[in-house]
Amino acid sequence: MNSTIAIFLKDIRSELRTRYALNSLVMFVITTISIVIFAIQAESPGSLIYAGILWIIIFFASMSGLSRTFVSEEERGTTLLLQLSAKPSTVLYGKMAFNIVLLLGLNLFTTILFFLFVPEFTLRRPDIFFLVIIFGTLALAVTSTMLAAIVAKANTKGTLYPVLSFPVLLPMFITVIDATKLAVEGAPFSETLGNFQMLISYLIATFIASSLLFDVIWKD
């Protein structure tokens, strides 16, 4: 547990030192939202379409940022040191915690920006929307941490990451987009229950698989 926290703090510290992921992700989100706004201009596609656009932005932002945790270790040549000094599971959980915090911050930023710049995007059930963002972020961060560890060992890291992640993340994406649409339409909570059940079971399944498989990926 202690070493998990130590790895989490180490990642936070090295991130704050370089601000590589943070800066580029913030710029990425701003760029994408402005492109969406320029593309839409005077049209008003309605909240349902905007719900989809929001998740597209979140997907590509996380694809460009979440692989950093492992790729940077590989690039700086610190993988071996980390392998020697910490157990594989603590590395995974530390990195996962870092990605969850990073993605939660990022998604919060994205949604706030989205609400500011796209006034047409209105919600009837903000509470459901909030829950969807939280659980969606958790599922996204947990799954992509594991895939980042795989990608870090491959040759073409940048392009391979979304390719590998998309099919694995899709059940989760279809569910969150569906739940976001329900939140926009103001559906009762009982109607979204199925989506949350699916999201939570997906989260548990990928978390357990990651915990079991990480040893294999991490050790050289």
């Binding site: 895939l147 491959a154 391979l160 390719v163 590998l164 059940p171 997906y202 990651s210 294999v216 990926i217």
Partner: protein, 235 residues
């Protein structure tokens, strides 16, 4: 033994294909060689003997690949990696065949080659998973590392497959039978008691034969790949 099996499979599969295409469809079947007309499907119902087995085999192939991925991680025997890749490669072929036969059926029954029905979405994802698996394999040079990582990836991808095949199609409305909102209710895609006995026999026979064909092709591929690997080891 294996020779008899091969000839038998060849004969039965030929029989299945000829019968599937040629038995007449009549309103009131009197003989064993007549299929009943299914309202709304008519002659297009013949595709059931080819499309559904292809989809089954692509899932069987994926599971085979998954099983040998797990085996590889347990034993670290390179032979298991060969088995896993070979199954995945063949599974990809069957997956493409299922998609194409399905798309043709969809064109004439539902009006368009592609409708993003939940099951079409799931087979699309299966194709993407296979594609990503091979993309990952081609991006790693080290043999051992490639085997390890692709095994891990196929397990992770494998745990999401049940969501696509069993959960989502029943949650969402769609065009395939068994989707939510279907007149006959949610349930399995295919219920055998709904169709005529002779069609049912041919249908299961077809599924069995294509599965056997898959295992035969898989066996050949594994043997070839093993020989190539041994040759490389010796060189």
């Amino acid at each position: 033994m294996s020779k008899i099996f091969k000839y038998l499979l060849g004969v039965i599969l030929t029989f299945v294909i000829i019968v599937g295409f040629s038995f007449p469809m009549v309103a009131n079947p009197q003989h064993w060689y007549e299929f009943p007309i299914i309202p709304g499907l008519e002659e297009k119902a013949r595709n059931i003997f080819f499309h559904v087995p292809m989809a089954w085999v692509s899932v069987i192939a994926f599971l085979t690949s998954l099983v040998f991925s797990v085996q590889y991680l347990r034993t670290r025997d390179y032979q298991n990696d060969i088995k896993s890749v070979s199954a995945a490669g063949l599974g990809f072929v069957f997956c493409v065949l299922a998609t194409v036969t399905g798309a043709i059926w969809a064109k004439f029954n539902w009006g368009a080659f592609w409708n993003w029905d939940p099951r079409q979405t799931s087979i699309f994802i299966l194709l993407l998973i296979y594609g990503a698996y091979f993309a990952l394999r081609s991006a790693i040079d080290n043999e051992e590392k490639r085997a390890q990582l692709s095994a891990a990836y196929s397990i992770i991808a494998g745990i999401t497959v049940p969501f696509f095949i069993f959960v989502m199609p029943r949650m969402m409305s769609g065009l395939h039978p068994g989707s939510a909102g279907d007149a006959q209710g949610k349930g399995p895609l295919f219920e055998s008691k709904g169709i005529a006995p002779n069609m049912r026999v041919l249908f299961y026979l077809s599924g069995l034969c294509f599965a056997a064909l898959f295992f035969w092709m898989w066996n050949l591929r594994v043997r070839v790949e093993t020989l190539l690997w041994k040759k490389q080891e010796l060189a």
